[in-house]
Amino acid sequence: MMNKRMNKPILNVSGLTIDFGGIRALDHLDFDVQVTEIVALIGPNGAGKTTLFNCLTGIYRPTDGEILLACPKTGQQTRLNGLKPNKITERGMARTFQNIRLFSRMTVLENVMIGRHCRTHSLILGAIFRNRKTREEEQETIHKSYEILEKVGLAGQVNELAGNLSYGAQRRLEIGRALATEPFLLLLDEPAAGMNPQETAVLVALIRQIRDEGHAILLIEHDMKLVMTLSDRVVVMDYGKKIAQGTPDQIRGNRDVIKAYLGEDVG
Protein backbone atom coordinates (compact mmCIF):
# COMPACT_ATOMS: atom_id res chain seq x y z
CA MET A 1 0.00 0.00 0.00
CA MET A 2 1.10 3.49 -0.68
CA ASN A 3 0.63 4.72 2.84
CA LYS A 4 3.48 2.81 4.49
CA ARG A 5 5.33 5.09 6.84
CA MET A 6 8.96 4.71 7.52
CA ASN A 7 8.93 4.45 11.32
CA LYS A 8 8.60 1.05 12.90
CA PRO A 9 5.07 -0.16 13.65
CA ILE A 10 4.15 -0.87 17.27
CA LEU A 11 1.64 -3.52 16.25
CA ASN A 12 2.25 -5.74 13.28
CA VAL A 13 -0.27 -8.39 12.29
CA SER A 14 0.43 -10.78 9.45
CA GLY A 15 -1.56 -13.64 7.99
CA LEU A 16 -3.92 -13.71 10.98
CA THR A 17 -6.52 -16.46 10.55
CA ILE A 18 -9.07 -18.01 12.87
CA ASP A 19 -11.64 -20.73 12.25
CA PHE A 20 -14.68 -21.54 14.33
CA GLY A 21 -15.50 -25.05 13.21
CA GLY A 22 -15.95 -24.40 9.50
CA ILE A 23 -16.50 -20.65 9.70
CA ARG A 24 -13.41 -18.66 8.88
CA ALA A 25 -13.93 -15.51 10.91
CA LEU A 26 -10.53 -14.02 10.06
CA ASP A 27 -8.81 -14.78 6.79
CA HIS A 28 -5.10 -13.98 6.40
CA LEU A 29 -5.34 -10.49 7.76
CA ASP A 30 -2.36 -8.14 7.53
CA PHE A 31 -2.12 -4.66 8.98
CA ASP A 32 -0.11 -2.53 11.35
CA VAL A 33 -0.41 0.38 13.73
CA GLN A 34 2.23 3.09 14.10
CA VAL A 35 3.21 5.15 17.14
CA THR A 36 0.54 7.67 18.26
CA GLU A 37 -1.60 6.84 15.28
CA ILE A 38 -5.39 6.50 15.33
CA VAL A 39 -6.37 3.61 13.10
CA ALA A 40 -10.04 2.89 12.52
CA LEU A 41 -11.26 -0.61 11.77
CA ILE A 42 -14.55 -0.64 9.90
CA GLY A 43 -16.68 -3.21 8.17
CA PRO A 44 -20.23 -4.51 8.07
CA ASN A 45 -21.72 -6.45 10.98
CA GLY A 46 -20.10 -9.83 11.40
CA ALA A 47 -17.02 -8.84 9.41
CA GLY A 48 -14.80 -10.13 12.20
CA LYS A 49 -13.68 -6.90 13.84
CA THR A 50 -14.39 -7.95 17.41
CA THR A 51 -12.93 -11.35 16.65
CA LEU A 52 -9.75 -9.58 15.61
CA PHE A 53 -9.62 -7.76 18.95
CA ASN A 54 -10.16 -11.03 20.75
CA CYS A 55 -7.25 -12.59 18.89
CA LEU A 56 -4.99 -9.62 19.53
CA THR A 57 -5.73 -9.63 23.25
CA GLY A 58 -5.29 -13.37 23.69
CA ILE A 59 -8.92 -14.21 24.39
CA TYR A 60 -9.14 -16.32 21.23
CA ARG A 61 -6.28 -18.44 19.98
CA PRO A 62 -5.71 -17.73 16.28
CA THR A 63 -5.45 -20.71 13.94
CA ASP A 64 -2.62 -19.15 12.01
CA GLY A 65 -0.65 -15.95 11.59
CA GLU A 66 1.55 -13.77 13.70
CA ILE A 67 0.99 -10.82 16.02
CA LEU A 68 3.99 -8.70 16.98
CA LEU A 69 3.90 -5.92 19.51
CA ALA A 70 6.81 -3.51 19.90
CA CYS A 71 7.17 -1.18 22.84
CA PRO A 72 7.80 2.31 21.44
CA LYS A 73 10.05 3.27 24.34
CA THR A 74 12.38 0.31 24.47
CA GLY A 75 11.78 -0.88 20.92
CA GLN A 76 11.58 -4.40 22.28
CA GLN A 77 9.41 -6.65 20.14
CA THR A 78 7.30 -9.56 21.45
CA ARG A 79 5.28 -12.22 19.70
CA LEU A 80 1.84 -12.22 21.27
CA ASN A 81 0.63 -15.55 19.90
CA GLY A 82 -0.18 -17.92 22.74
CA LEU A 83 0.32 -15.36 25.49
CA LYS A 84 -2.39 -15.12 28.12
CA PRO A 85 -4.60 -12.00 28.02
CA ASN A 86 -3.09 -10.63 31.22
CA LYS A 87 0.45 -10.96 29.86
CA ILE A 88 -0.56 -9.07 26.75
CA THR A 89 -2.05 -6.28 28.83
CA GLU A 90 1.18 -6.16 30.81
CA ARG A 91 3.08 -5.72 27.55
CA GLY A 92 1.18 -2.49 26.95
CA MET A 93 -1.97 -3.18 24.95
CA ALA A 94 -5.37 -2.71 26.62
CA ARG A 95 -8.91 -2.87 25.33
CA THR A 96 -12.53 -2.05 25.90
CA PHE A 97 -15.45 -4.34 25.10
CA GLN A 98 -18.26 -3.89 22.61
CA ASN A 99 -20.83 -5.24 25.05
CA ILE A 100 -19.72 -3.41 28.15
CA ARG A 101 -17.98 -5.64 30.66
CA LEU A 102 -17.49 -3.51 33.73
CA PHE A 103 -17.29 -4.93 37.22
CA SER A 104 -20.77 -3.70 37.87
CA ARG A 105 -21.00 -4.36 41.60
CA MET A 106 -17.76 -2.51 42.27
CA THR A 107 -17.44 1.23 42.49
CA VAL A 108 -16.28 3.41 39.64
CA LEU A 109 -13.00 4.10 41.38
CA GLU A 110 -12.42 0.43 42.12
CA ASN A 111 -12.98 -0.42 38.46
CA VAL A 112 -10.12 1.86 37.53
CA MET A 113 -8.03 0.61 40.43
CA ILE A 114 -8.32 -2.91 38.98
CA GLY A 115 -6.63 -1.56 35.90
CA ARG A 116 -3.65 -0.62 38.09
CA HIS A 117 -3.34 -4.21 39.30
CA CYS A 118 -0.69 -5.22 36.82
CA ARG A 119 1.42 -2.16 37.68
CA THR A 120 1.42 -2.79 41.42
CA HIS A 121 2.84 -5.57 43.52
CA SER A 122 1.57 -5.93 47.08
CA LEU A 123 0.46 -9.42 48.05
CA ILE A 124 -1.08 -11.38 50.90
CA LEU A 125 1.29 -10.31 53.65
CA GLY A 126 1.22 -6.72 52.50
CA ALA A 127 -2.56 -6.83 52.57
CA ILE A 128 -2.68 -8.23 56.08
CA PHE A 129 0.03 -6.15 57.71
CA ARG A 130 -0.42 -3.02 55.61
CA ASN A 131 3.21 -2.07 55.87
CA ARG A 132 4.43 1.27 54.68
CA LYS A 133 5.19 0.12 51.16
CA THR A 134 1.72 -1.28 50.72
CA ARG A 135 0.10 1.84 52.08
CA GLU A 136 2.10 4.04 49.75
CA GLU A 137 1.32 1.83 46.80
CA GLU A 138 -2.37 1.92 47.69
CA GLN A 139 -2.34 5.72 47.94
CA GLU A 140 -0.63 5.97 44.59
CA THR A 141 -3.19 3.62 43.05
CA ILE A 142 -5.99 5.75 44.39
CA HIS A 143 -4.46 8.99 43.18
CA LYS A 144 -3.64 7.77 39.71
CA SER A 145 -7.08 6.21 39.36
CA TYR A 146 -8.70 9.45 40.44
CA GLU A 147 -6.68 11.39 37.89
CA ILE A 148 -7.83 9.05 35.16
CA LEU A 149 -11.43 9.48 36.28
CA GLU A 150 -11.02 13.24 36.07
CA LYS A 151 -9.72 12.81 32.56
CA VAL A 152 -12.68 10.70 31.42
CA GLY A 153 -15.09 12.99 33.22
CA LEU A 154 -16.25 10.69 35.98
CA ALA A 155 -14.59 12.32 38.98
CA GLY A 156 -17.99 13.22 40.37
CA GLN A 157 -19.09 9.61 40.55
CA VAL A 158 -16.12 7.82 42.10
CA ASN A 159 -18.18 6.03 44.74
CA GLU A 160 -21.07 5.12 42.48
CA LEU A 161 -21.47 1.45 41.59
CA ALA A 162 -20.35 0.97 38.01
CA GLY A 163 -23.58 -0.82 37.16
CA ASN A 164 -25.58 2.28 38.08
CA LEU A 165 -23.86 4.60 35.59
CA SER A 166 -25.49 5.78 32.42
CA TYR A 167 -24.59 4.00 29.22
CA GLY A 168 -22.26 6.70 27.95
CA ALA A 169 -20.56 6.97 31.32
CA GLN A 170 -20.02 3.22 31.36
CA ARG A 171 -18.28 3.41 28.00
CA ARG A 172 -16.03 6.17 29.28
CA LEU A 173 -15.32 4.17 32.43
CA GLU A 174 -14.22 1.25 30.28
CA ILE A 175 -11.76 3.55 28.56
CA GLY A 176 -10.55 4.82 31.92
CA ARG A 177 -10.10 1.31 33.21
CA ALA A 178 -8.06 0.36 30.17
CA LEU A 179 -5.95 3.51 30.48
CA ALA A 180 -5.09 2.59 34.05
CA THR A 181 -3.08 -0.37 32.78
CA GLU A 182 -0.72 2.17 31.17
CA PRO A 183 -0.99 0.91 27.62
CA PHE A 184 0.83 2.41 24.65
CA LEU A 185 -1.78 0.91 22.35
CA LEU A 186 -5.46 1.19 23.21
CA LEU A 187 -8.08 -0.94 21.46
CA LEU A 188 -11.58 0.55 21.52
CA ASP A 189 -14.50 -1.60 20.39
CA GLU A 190 -17.35 0.67 19.27
CA PRO A 191 -16.80 3.31 21.97
CA ALA A 192 -19.54 5.57 20.61
CA ALA A 193 -22.24 2.91 20.30
CA GLY A 194 -25.44 4.07 21.96
CA MET A 195 -24.19 7.60 22.61
CA ASN A 196 -26.06 10.76 21.71
CA PRO A 197 -24.33 13.47 19.60
CA GLN A 198 -23.17 15.48 22.63
CA GLU A 199 -21.71 12.43 24.30
CA THR A 200 -20.01 11.46 21.04
CA ALA A 201 -18.46 14.92 20.77
CA VAL A 202 -17.05 14.61 24.28
CA LEU A 203 -15.74 11.17 23.37
CA VAL A 204 -14.00 12.45 20.25
CA ALA A 205 -12.24 15.09 22.31
CA LEU A 206 -11.26 12.46 24.86
CA ILE A 207 -9.81 10.13 22.24
CA ARG A 208 -7.83 13.00 20.73
CA GLN A 209 -6.50 13.92 24.14
CA ILE A 210 -5.46 10.33 24.81
CA ARG A 211 -3.63 10.23 21.51
CA ASP A 212 -1.92 13.51 22.22
CA GLU A 213 -0.66 12.06 25.46
CA GLY A 214 1.22 9.50 23.41
CA HIS A 215 -1.05 6.51 23.06
CA ALA A 216 -1.76 4.83 19.76
CA ILE A 217 -5.39 3.88 19.22
CA LEU A 218 -7.02 1.11 17.21
CA LEU A 219 -10.71 1.78 17.00
CA ILE A 220 -13.71 -0.18 15.78
CA GLU A 221 -16.60 2.09 14.94
CA HIS A 222 -19.75 2.14 12.87
CA ASP A 223 -20.26 5.90 13.16
CA MET A 224 -18.68 7.00 9.86
CA LYS A 225 -18.61 10.67 10.76
CA LEU A 226 -16.58 9.88 13.83
CA VAL A 227 -14.27 7.58 11.90
CA MET A 228 -13.64 10.10 9.15
CA THR A 229 -12.95 13.03 11.49
CA LEU A 230 -10.83 11.16 13.98
CA SER A 231 -8.68 8.61 12.26
CA ASP A 232 -5.36 8.90 10.52
CA ARG A 233 -5.88 5.70 8.67
CA VAL A 234 -8.79 3.33 8.02
CA VAL A 235 -8.71 -0.43 7.57
CA VAL A 236 -11.82 -1.96 6.02
CA MET A 237 -12.81 -5.57 6.65
CA ASP A 238 -15.42 -7.82 5.15
CA TYR A 239 -15.92 -11.55 5.74
CA GLY A 240 -12.73 -11.73 7.76
CA LYS A 241 -10.59 -10.24 5.01
CA LYS A 242 -9.03 -6.82 4.66
CA ILE A 243 -10.61 -5.29 1.60
CA ALA A 244 -9.13 -1.81 1.72
CA GLN A 245 -6.86 0.44 3.68
CA GLY A 246 -5.92 4.10 3.43
CA THR A 247 -6.62 7.61 4.61
CA PRO A 248 -10.25 8.52 5.30
CA ASP A 249 -10.41 10.33 1.97
CA GLN A 250 -9.12 7.38 0.03
CA ILE A 251 -11.60 5.08 1.72
CA ARG A 252 -14.55 7.38 1.11
CA GLY A 253 -14.30 6.88 -2.62
CA ASN A 254 -13.27 3.23 -2.64
CA ARG A 255 -15.66 1.10 -4.75
CA ASP A 256 -14.98 -2.13 -2.87
CA VAL A 257 -15.89 -0.48 0.38
CA ILE A 258 -19.13 0.90 -0.95
CA LYS A 259 -19.93 -2.49 -2.37
CA ALA A 260 -19.25 -4.23 0.95
CA TYR A 261 -21.49 -1.83 2.79
CA LEU A 262 -24.33 -1.55 0.30
CA GLY A 263 -24.37 -4.99 -1.28
CA GLU A 264 -23.23 -6.53 -4.53
CA ASP A 265 -25.61 -4.81 -6.92
CA VAL A 266 -24.08 -1.36 -6.55
CA GLY A 267 -21.88 -0.90 -9.58
Binding site: G21, T50, N54, Y60
Partner: protein
Protein backbone atom coordinates in the same frame (compact mmCIF):
# COMPACT_ATOMS: atom_id res chain seq x y z
CA UNK B 1 -15.05 -66.88 30.50
CA UNK B 2 -18.46 -67.10 32.12
CA UNK B 3 -17.28 -64.70 34.76
CA UNK B 4 -16.18 -62.27 32.10
CA UNK B 5 -19.54 -62.48 30.34
CA UNK B 6 -21.35 -62.08 33.63
CA UNK B 7 -19.35 -58.96 34.43
CA UNK B 8 -19.87 -57.65 30.94
CA UNK B 9 -23.63 -58.09 31.10
CA UNK B 10 -23.94 -56.67 34.58
CA UNK B 11 -21.83 -53.74 33.38
CA UNK B 12 -24.27 -53.19 30.55
CA UNK B 13 -27.18 -53.30 32.99
CA UNK B 14 -25.50 -50.79 35.24
CA UNK B 15 -24.69 -48.64 32.25
CA UNK B 16 -28.28 -48.69 30.99
CA UNK B 17 -29.52 -47.42 34.32
CA UNK B 18 -26.90 -44.68 34.35
CA UNK B 19 -27.99 -43.81 30.84
CA UNK B 20 -31.60 -43.32 31.90
CA UNK B 21 -30.48 -40.81 34.50
CA UNK B 22 -27.66 -39.28 32.48
CA UNK B 23 -30.07 -38.37 29.68
CA UNK B 24 -31.87 -36.01 32.00
CA UNK B 25 -28.63 -34.21 32.86
CA UNK B 26 -27.53 -33.99 29.29
CA UNK B 27 -30.85 -32.78 27.88
CA UNK B 28 -31.25 -30.07 30.49
CA UNK B 29 -27.65 -29.02 30.05
CA UNK B 30 -28.03 -28.95 26.31
CA UNK B 31 -31.00 -26.64 26.53
CA UNK B 32 -30.30 -24.24 29.38
CA UNK B 33 -26.67 -24.92 30.19
CA UNK B 34 -27.44 -25.80 33.79
CA UNK B 35 -26.17 -28.75 35.80
CA UNK B 36 -29.45 -29.86 37.31
CA UNK B 37 -28.06 -30.87 40.62
CA UNK B 38 -31.46 -32.04 41.86
CA UNK B 39 -31.82 -34.61 39.09
CA UNK B 40 -30.47 -37.43 41.26
CA UNK B 41 -33.21 -36.58 43.75
CA UNK B 42 -35.85 -36.80 41.03
CA UNK B 43 -34.62 -40.29 40.34
CA UNK B 44 -34.81 -41.09 44.05
CA UNK B 45 -38.36 -39.77 44.19
CA UNK B 46 -39.24 -41.95 41.20
CA UNK B 47 -37.88 -44.97 43.04
CA UNK B 48 -39.71 -44.01 46.22
CA UNK B 49 -43.01 -43.37 44.49
CA UNK B 50 -42.85 -46.72 42.75
CA UNK B 51 -41.93 -48.33 46.07
CA UNK B 52 -44.92 -46.79 47.82
CA UNK B 53 -47.36 -47.58 45.04
CA UNK B 54 -46.09 -51.10 44.43
CA UNK B 55 -46.03 -52.04 48.10
CA UNK B 56 -49.48 -50.59 48.71
CA UNK B 57 -50.95 -52.46 45.75
CA UNK B 58 -49.28 -55.70 46.73
CA UNK B 59 -50.58 -55.36 50.29
CA UNK B 60 -54.06 -54.89 48.89
CA UNK B 61 -53.51 -58.01 46.82
CA UNK B 62 -53.34 -56.75 43.24
CA UNK B 63 -51.79 -59.01 40.57
CA UNK B 64 -48.13 -58.46 39.70
CA UNK B 65 -48.75 -57.24 36.14
CA UNK B 66 -51.07 -54.51 37.39
CA UNK B 67 -48.60 -53.54 40.08
CA UNK B 68 -45.75 -53.19 37.59
CA UNK B 69 -47.76 -51.04 35.20
CA UNK B 70 -49.31 -48.80 37.84
CA UNK B 71 -46.05 -48.36 39.74
CA UNK B 72 -44.19 -47.51 36.54
CA UNK B 73 -46.78 -45.00 35.40
CA UNK B 74 -47.10 -43.43 38.84
CA UNK B 75 -43.34 -43.09 39.18
CA UNK B 76 -43.09 -41.41 35.78
CA UNK B 77 -46.00 -39.05 36.46
CA UNK B 78 -44.87 -37.95 39.89
CA UNK B 79 -41.21 -37.65 39.01
CA UNK B 80 -42.16 -35.52 36.02
CA UNK B 81 -44.34 -33.40 38.26
CA UNK B 82 -41.44 -32.91 40.66
CA UNK B 83 -39.08 -32.15 37.80
CA UNK B 84 -41.47 -29.58 36.42
CA UNK B 85 -42.05 -27.98 39.81
CA UNK B 86 -38.35 -27.80 40.59
CA UNK B 87 -37.77 -26.07 37.28
CA UNK B 88 -40.57 -23.58 37.88
CA UNK B 89 -39.51 -22.75 41.42
CA UNK B 90 -35.76 -22.97 41.48
CA UNK B 91 -34.50 -22.34 37.96
CA UNK B 92 -37.00 -20.34 35.96
CA UNK B 93 -36.77 -17.15 38.04
CA UNK B 94 -32.98 -17.34 37.76
CA UNK B 95 -32.66 -17.67 34.01
CA UNK B 96 -30.93 -14.32 33.68
CA UNK B 97 -29.14 -14.35 37.03
CA UNK B 98 -25.36 -14.83 37.31
CA UNK B 99 -24.27 -18.36 36.56
CA UNK B 100 -23.60 -19.25 40.17
CA UNK B 101 -27.18 -18.53 41.26
CA UNK B 102 -29.07 -21.39 39.57
CA UNK B 103 -26.32 -23.77 40.59
CA UNK B 104 -26.64 -22.85 44.27
CA UNK B 105 -30.38 -23.02 43.95
CA UNK B 106 -30.07 -26.48 42.40
CA UNK B 107 -27.92 -27.69 45.28
CA UNK B 108 -30.48 -26.28 47.69
CA UNK B 109 -33.26 -28.13 45.88
CA UNK B 110 -31.31 -31.36 46.07
CA UNK B 111 -30.84 -31.03 49.83
CA UNK B 112 -34.44 -29.97 50.26
CA UNK B 113 -35.89 -32.94 48.37
CA UNK B 114 -33.65 -35.43 50.10
CA UNK B 115 -34.67 -34.24 53.52
CA UNK B 116 -38.29 -33.95 52.52
CA UNK B 117 -38.38 -37.64 51.71
CA UNK B 118 -36.38 -38.42 54.83
CA UNK B 119 -38.86 -36.57 57.04
CA UNK B 120 -42.04 -37.66 55.29
CA UNK B 121 -40.96 -41.27 55.04
CA UNK B 122 -38.00 -42.77 56.83
CA UNK B 123 -34.23 -42.89 56.96
CA UNK B 124 -34.17 -46.70 56.97
CA UNK B 125 -33.37 -48.87 54.03
CA UNK B 126 -36.63 -50.31 52.75
CA UNK B 127 -37.06 -53.66 50.99
CA UNK B 128 -38.33 -53.08 47.47
CA UNK B 129 -40.88 -55.62 46.23
CA UNK B 130 -39.66 -57.90 43.49
CA UNK B 131 -41.41 -56.66 40.38
CA UNK B 132 -39.57 -58.81 37.85
CA UNK B 133 -40.06 -62.56 38.28
CA UNK B 134 -37.43 -65.14 37.36
CA UNK B 135 -38.45 -66.26 33.88
CA UNK B 136 -38.37 -69.98 33.23
CA UNK B 137 -36.84 -69.57 29.78
CA UNK B 138 -33.88 -67.78 31.34
CA UNK B 139 -32.94 -70.91 33.32
CA UNK B 140 -30.10 -72.08 31.00
CA UNK B 141 -28.28 -68.71 31.08
CA UNK B 142 -29.11 -67.79 34.66
CA UNK B 143 -25.47 -68.09 35.72
CA UNK B 144 -24.45 -65.14 33.54
CA UNK B 145 -27.56 -63.00 33.36
CA UNK B 146 -30.58 -62.65 35.59
CA UNK B 147 -34.12 -61.99 34.42
CA UNK B 148 -34.14 -58.48 35.78
CA UNK B 149 -30.92 -57.66 33.89
CA UNK B 150 -32.61 -58.78 30.72
CA UNK B 151 -35.70 -56.71 31.42
CA UNK B 152 -33.58 -53.67 32.20
CA UNK B 153 -31.58 -54.05 29.01
CA UNK B 154 -34.64 -54.47 26.84
CA UNK B 155 -36.60 -51.69 28.51
CA UNK B 156 -33.79 -49.17 28.23
CA UNK B 157 -33.11 -50.11 24.63
CA UNK B 158 -36.75 -49.50 23.81
CA UNK B 159 -36.81 -46.23 25.71
CA UNK B 160 -33.70 -45.03 23.90
CA UNK B 161 -35.27 -45.87 20.58
CA UNK B 162 -38.47 -44.04 21.49
CA UNK B 163 -36.49 -41.04 22.69
CA UNK B 164 -34.48 -40.90 19.49
CA UNK B 165 -37.65 -40.99 17.41
CA UNK B 166 -39.26 -38.36 19.59
CA UNK B 167 -36.35 -35.99 19.23
CA UNK B 168 -35.88 -36.61 15.53
CA UNK B 169 -39.46 -36.49 14.32
CA UNK B 170 -41.92 -34.84 16.67
CA UNK B 171 -42.66 -31.15 16.86
CA UNK B 172 -41.51 -30.83 20.43
CA UNK B 173 -38.36 -32.82 19.62
CA UNK B 174 -37.50 -30.44 16.81
CA UNK B 175 -38.22 -27.47 19.05
CA UNK B 176 -35.86 -28.96 21.63
CA UNK B 177 -33.07 -29.30 19.14
CA UNK B 178 -33.60 -25.78 17.89
CA UNK B 179 -33.60 -24.38 21.42
CA UNK B 180 -30.46 -26.32 22.28
CA UNK B 181 -28.68 -24.86 19.28
CA UNK B 182 -29.59 -21.23 19.82
CA UNK B 183 -32.13 -20.12 22.37
CA UNK B 184 -32.49 -16.55 21.15
CA UNK B 185 -32.93 -17.71 17.60
CA UNK B 186 -35.53 -20.28 18.64
CA UNK B 187 -37.41 -17.54 20.42
CA UNK B 188 -37.28 -15.37 17.33
CA UNK B 189 -38.72 -18.03 15.06
CA UNK B 190 -41.66 -18.40 17.41
CA UNK B 191 -40.78 -21.42 19.51
CA UNK B 192 -42.23 -21.26 22.99
CA UNK B 193 -38.91 -21.69 24.77
CA UNK B 194 -40.46 -21.88 28.24
CA UNK B 195 -42.59 -24.80 27.11
CA UNK B 196 -39.62 -26.53 25.55
CA UNK B 197 -37.61 -26.17 28.75
CA UNK B 198 -40.47 -27.55 30.83
CA UNK B 199 -40.91 -30.43 28.41
CA UNK B 200 -37.23 -31.24 28.72
CA UNK B 201 -37.44 -31.38 32.48
CA UNK B 202 -40.56 -33.53 32.32
CA UNK B 203 -39.07 -35.94 29.84
CA UNK B 204 -35.76 -36.22 31.70
CA UNK B 205 -37.57 -36.79 34.99
CA UNK B 206 -39.76 -39.53 33.54
CA UNK B 207 -36.69 -41.34 32.24
CA UNK B 208 -35.01 -41.04 35.63
CA UNK B 209 -38.14 -42.40 37.31
CA UNK B 210 -38.13 -45.48 35.10
CA UNK B 211 -34.45 -45.87 35.95
CA UNK B 212 -35.32 -45.57 39.62
CA UNK B 213 -37.99 -48.23 39.41
CA UNK B 214 -35.77 -50.65 37.48
CA UNK B 215 -32.71 -50.31 39.70
CA UNK B 216 -34.71 -50.44 42.92
CA UNK B 217 -36.38 -53.64 41.93
CA UNK B 218 -33.03 -54.99 40.68
CA UNK B 219 -31.15 -54.24 43.88
CA UNK B 220 -34.13 -54.87 46.12
CA UNK B 221 -33.87 -51.96 48.52
CA UNK B 222 -34.13 -48.19 48.58
CA UNK B 223 -33.33 -45.27 50.84
CA UNK B 224 -33.76 -41.50 50.73
CA UNK B 225 -30.07 -40.97 49.99
CA UNK B 226 -29.69 -43.11 46.86
CA UNK B 227 -30.08 -40.09 44.58
CA UNK B 228 -26.82 -38.44 45.54
CA UNK B 229 -24.39 -41.14 44.43
CA UNK B 230 -26.53 -42.20 41.47
CA UNK B 231 -26.79 -38.58 40.40
CA UNK B 232 -23.05 -38.03 40.58
CA UNK B 233 -22.37 -41.19 38.65
CA UNK B 234 -24.89 -40.41 35.96
CA UNK B 235 -23.46 -36.94 35.73
CA UNK B 236 -19.99 -38.47 35.36
CA UNK B 237 -21.35 -40.59 32.54
CA UNK B 238 -22.92 -37.56 30.86
CA UNK B 239 -19.67 -35.62 31.05
CA UNK B 240 -17.68 -38.63 29.90
CA UNK B 241 -19.84 -38.86 26.81
CA UNK B 242 -19.82 -35.12 26.26
CA UNK B 243 -22.45 -33.19 28.13
CA UNK B 244 -25.23 -31.89 25.92
CA UNK B 245 -24.94 -34.84 23.54
CA UNK B 246 -27.64 -37.51 23.78
CA UNK B 247 -25.72 -40.37 22.13
CA UNK B 248 -22.79 -39.23 24.24
CA UNK B 249 -24.77 -39.75 27.44
CA UNK B 250 -25.63 -43.30 26.43
CA UNK B 251 -22.09 -44.11 25.36
CA UNK B 252 -20.61 -42.54 28.49
CA UNK B 253 -23.01 -44.48 30.68
CA UNK B 254 -22.16 -47.79 29.08
CA UNK B 255 -18.44 -47.11 29.34
CA UNK B 256 -18.80 -46.14 32.99
CA UNK B 257 -21.02 -49.14 33.77
CA UNK B 258 -18.62 -51.59 32.13
CA UNK B 259 -15.50 -50.14 33.70
CA UNK B 260 -17.10 -50.18 37.12
CA UNK B 261 -18.29 -53.71 36.68
CA UNK B 262 -14.88 -55.00 35.60
CA UNK B 263 -13.05 -52.97 38.20
CA UNK B 264 -15.17 -54.32 41.04
CA UNK B 265 -15.15 -57.83 39.58
CA UNK B 266 -11.42 -58.14 39.00
CA UNK B 267 -9.88 -55.62 41.37
CA UNK B 268 -11.81 -54.65 44.47
CA UNK B 269 -15.11 -53.10 45.37
CA UNK B 270 -13.79 -51.00 48.28
CA UNK B 271 -12.98 -48.06 46.12
CA UNK B 272 -15.88 -48.27 43.70
CA UNK B 273 -17.11 -44.76 44.44
CA UNK B 274 -13.62 -43.29 44.69
CA UNK B 275 -13.07 -44.67 41.24
CA UNK B 276 -16.15 -42.97 39.80
CA UNK B 277 -15.32 -39.65 41.44
CA UNK B 278 -11.71 -39.79 40.28
CA UNK B 279 -12.85 -40.53 36.76
CA UNK B 280 -15.16 -37.53 36.91
CA UNK B 281 -12.41 -35.24 38.16
CA UNK B 282 -9.95 -36.51 35.56
CA UNK B 283 -12.34 -36.08 32.62
CA UNK B 284 -13.35 -32.62 33.67
CA UNK B 285 -9.73 -31.58 34.00
CA UNK B 286 -8.30 -33.18 30.90
CA UNK B 287 -11.15 -33.51 28.45
CA UNK B 288 -14.13 -31.47 29.60
CA UNK B 289 -15.74 -31.82 26.19
CA UNK B 290 -16.01 -35.59 26.69
CA UNK B 291 -16.01 -38.35 24.08
CA UNK B 292 -18.67 -37.00 21.72
CA UNK B 293 -19.04 -33.38 22.81
CA UNK B 294 -17.59 -30.54 20.85
CA UNK B 295 -15.23 -28.01 22.36
CA UNK B 296 -16.53 -24.51 22.01
CA UNK B 297 -14.97 -21.11 22.36
CA UNK B 298 -17.13 -18.82 24.40
CA UNK B 299 -18.21 -15.84 22.37
CA UNK B 300 -16.96 -12.58 23.81
Amino acid sequence: MDYFIELFLSGLTRGSIYALIALGYTMVYGIIGLINFAHGEIYMIGAFTSFIVATTLSIYGFPLAAIVVVAGVAAAIWSSAYGYTVEQIAYKPLRHAPRLAPLISAIGMSILLQNYVLLAQTSDFLPFPKLIPEFAFMEPVAHVIGSSDLVILITTAMIMLALTLLIKFTRIGKAMRATAQDRTMALLVGINVDRVISATFILGSALAAIGGLLIASHIGQINFAIGFIAGIKAFTAAVLGGIGSIPGAVLGSLVLGLTESFATGYVSSDYEDVFAFSLLVLILIFKPSGLLGKADTKKV
